[in-house]
């Protein structure tokens, strides 16, 4: 482990390199620009490949190609750029091509704003493309967590042969923090990973052992069979659920939040607890699969409400929260959007209003 002071975007890129990512293609879009920029300097140092694609659309297909040929590959973008990549991501899912991508989310919809937001939640967790495929989606709330999740994402992607999304945001992407960097995978390890995929990757094979990678089927029966296998894979992710519970046991008010909003909310919980107010926090780290069962640990006999804190208007994350709460208590919201960053004071005010009501 080595401790360094790094910007979120660059730390995410370095984590990917250390995880064995040796192909990155991306396109400029604020606020994720430092990811491609970092890769453009770093990849030559590790014998990897960086390409600035002519568009996000091309970049994701370059990653698809590299993934089809067994290389750990990554792309990144922000909100509207992610929308452009959704077809390519669907192809990766459809053809079972492992890859990792990062959305450094910003205000939306459309061009929206270039400042940070959490307005791609439903896009990220429910429908990142066509055909109903799903992905493991991780939402870091610190630069350290972004590093750790990105590093692990490549293993998940290879394990499942499926794309994995790191759902960050403009705050995490552009803030600097000290981070412990994970160990660098050796070239031998990376070569072994690529070699382990030789049976199904398109590198060239002898006659009789040829590989044909198709993101779909001519036969409807084959396509349905594939869908059924994929559905089983998605169910299996129950074991990969990750969330943080903070002061929930005796909580009279539980904040539900993810990513940077949850981090701000956590400092609010600490302040409120010092004032004797029993507030807790549930922070999903995997936002797909969503940790619904985490909300079963709330003592609804004591808990007056769940407060959804997110940087999205209209609220999106709240939909999963309400599925989890199952009407066992009211759900309130504390929202901002458009690039405005969640303010702790707003959270404090919202909590007090609920608790004193």
């Amino acid at each position: 482990m080595s401790r360094v002071f790094m910007k979120g975007c660059e730390a995410i890129a370095e984590a990917a390199v250390r995880a064995g990512c040796r192909f990155f293609a991306g396109y400029p879009i604020t606020p994720q620009n430092e990811i491609p920029e970092y890769f453009s300097r770093r990849m030559p140092e590790v014998g990897g490949v960086f390409v600035q694609g002519e568009s996000e659309v091309a970049s994701i297909s370059m990653v698809y190609g590299a993934g089809c040929a067994g290389t750990r590959a990554m792309t990144s973008s922000s909100s509207c750029g992610i929308a452009l990549k959704s077809e390519g991501i669907s192809y990766c899912a459809g053809a079972r091509i492992p890859m990792v991508y990062c959305n450094v989310a910003r205000g939306g919809p459309g061009v929206g704003s270039i400042q940070p937001a959490q307005m791609d939640y439903l896009q990220a967790t429910k429908a990142s493309g066509n055909g109903g495929f799903q992905m493991l989606v991780f939402a870091p709330s610190t630069v350290q967590e972004a590093v750790d999740l990105t590093y692990a994402a490549f293993d998940y992607a290879d394990r499942d042969r499926n794309p994995v999304l790191i759902l960050a945001d403009g705050v995490i992407g552009t803030m600097m923090e000290s981070v412990e960097l994970p160990p660098m995978r050796s070239d031998e390890e990376i070569a072994a990973i690529k070699d382990s995929k030789k049976k199904w990757t398109a590198l060239g094979h002898r006659l009789g052992e040829h590989v044909d990678i198709e993101p779909g089927f001519w036969s409807t029966l084959d396509q349905q069979k594939w869908n059924e296998e994929a559905a089983a894979l998605y169910l299996s992710w129950e074991k990969d659920l990750q969330w943080e519970e903070y002061c929930v046991e005796d909580a009279e008010l539980v904040i539900a939040s993810y990513g940077i909003s949850a981090r701000i909310a956590k400092s609010a919980v600490n302040l409120l607890r010092r004032e004797g107010l029993k507030v807790g926090l549930i922070r999903p780290i995997t936002v797909n699969p969503f940790p619904y069962k985490a909300f079963d640990r709330i003592d609804y006999s004591k808990c007056k409400a769940v407060l959804d804190v997110e940087m999205s208007i209209p609220a999106q994350f709240v939909k999963d929260v309400s599925v989890a709460v199952k009407d066992r208590c009211p759900i309130e919201t504390c929202l901002c959007s458009g690039g405005n960053i969640m303010s702790r004071d707003d959270i404090l005010a919202a909590c007090k209003k609920i608790l004193e009501a």
Binding site: E54, M62, G65, C68, Y91, G204, L207
Partner: protein, 250 residues
């Protein structure tokens, strides 16, 4: 006892009787590609990136590694493969809709970057698989399911000449347009494909072979009729020949 002097290349599946229509030259080109791969002894290094359209049916024909890229993105996917696996012999196989319409940016950009892979571009002036819509290379006056009264320049613009377009770029190494409408042109097509693949093996950069073919079904004619249409209408619009060959300057 006679000796077998011609048979279909083993690079095409033995039992391949694909969905191509009678007279369609996709399968002709599949044979030529296979023959070249055998002759260069690179069958076990070949990776084809197919576009979407009739070109995609080649998965029924190609007995070597191939993938399907998103519509128009074959040159991007090929970039990803070739750059991470320079030892593979990578080529895209695309129709005119895939390469010159939705994929024009990817094609021009890959050519402009001088990517060291080869492009086999099948130009039959129409969208085949989806049922005869107008393509970027549809001729003026030619009817299509989305140009019911024929292509009109004032509304639909003019046919795109991909080789000439790419000839404006500095990086591309070899650009040739051929056809498969007669034995001489079939042999020239094979020679061009071989040259394109050899360029790649020699690390010379981007090569593209544009092959003018027919589409009997969507041209509303039959196989032999499509040969006439190629001769009389397609080739005057898309003149055959070498548009660029930097090996001449080497």
């Amino acid at each position: 006892m006679e000796e077998l002097v011609y048979t279909r290349t083993k690079a095409v599946f033995e039992n391949a009787v694909s969905g191509f229509c009678p007279g369609c030259m996709h399968s002709t080109v599949a044979k030529l590609i296979g023959e070249v791969l055998e002759e260069l002894d690179i069958l076990d290094k070949a990776v084809c990136v197919k576009g979407i359209g009739c070109c995609g049916l080649q998965s029924n024909y190609f007995a070597f590694d191939n993938i399907t890229a998103a519509h128009g993105r074959a040159c991007a996917a090929a970039t990803g493969i070739k750059r991470t696996n320079p030892a593979s012999l990578v080529f895209t196989y695309q129709g005119d809709g895939d390469l010159a319409s939705i994929g024009l940016a990817e094609t021009v950009s890959a050519a402009n970057r001088g990517e060291n892979f080869s492009v086999i571009f099948i130009n039959n002036g129409i969208y085949g698989m989806t049922g005869g819509q107008m393509a970027p290379t549809t001729l003026v006056g030619m009817k299509a399911s989305t140009a019911p009264w024929g292509r009109k320049p004032e509304e639909h613009g003019y046919p795109i000449h991909v080789c000439e377009l790419l000839n404006e770029l500095t990086a591309p190494y070899y650009l040739e347009r051929t056809s498969c409408n007669n034995p001489t042109n079939v042999r020239k097509t094979k020679k061009a494909i071989k040259k394109a693949f050899q360029n790649q093996l020699d690390g010379k950069g981007f090569s593209l072979v544009e092959i003018v073919t027919g589409c009997p079904t969507n041209w509303g004619t039959d196989a032999l009729g499509s040969l006439d249409f190629i001769e009389e209408k397609m080739l005057p619009e898309f003149p055959l020949g070498v548009i660029r060959d930097k090996s001449k300057e080497d």
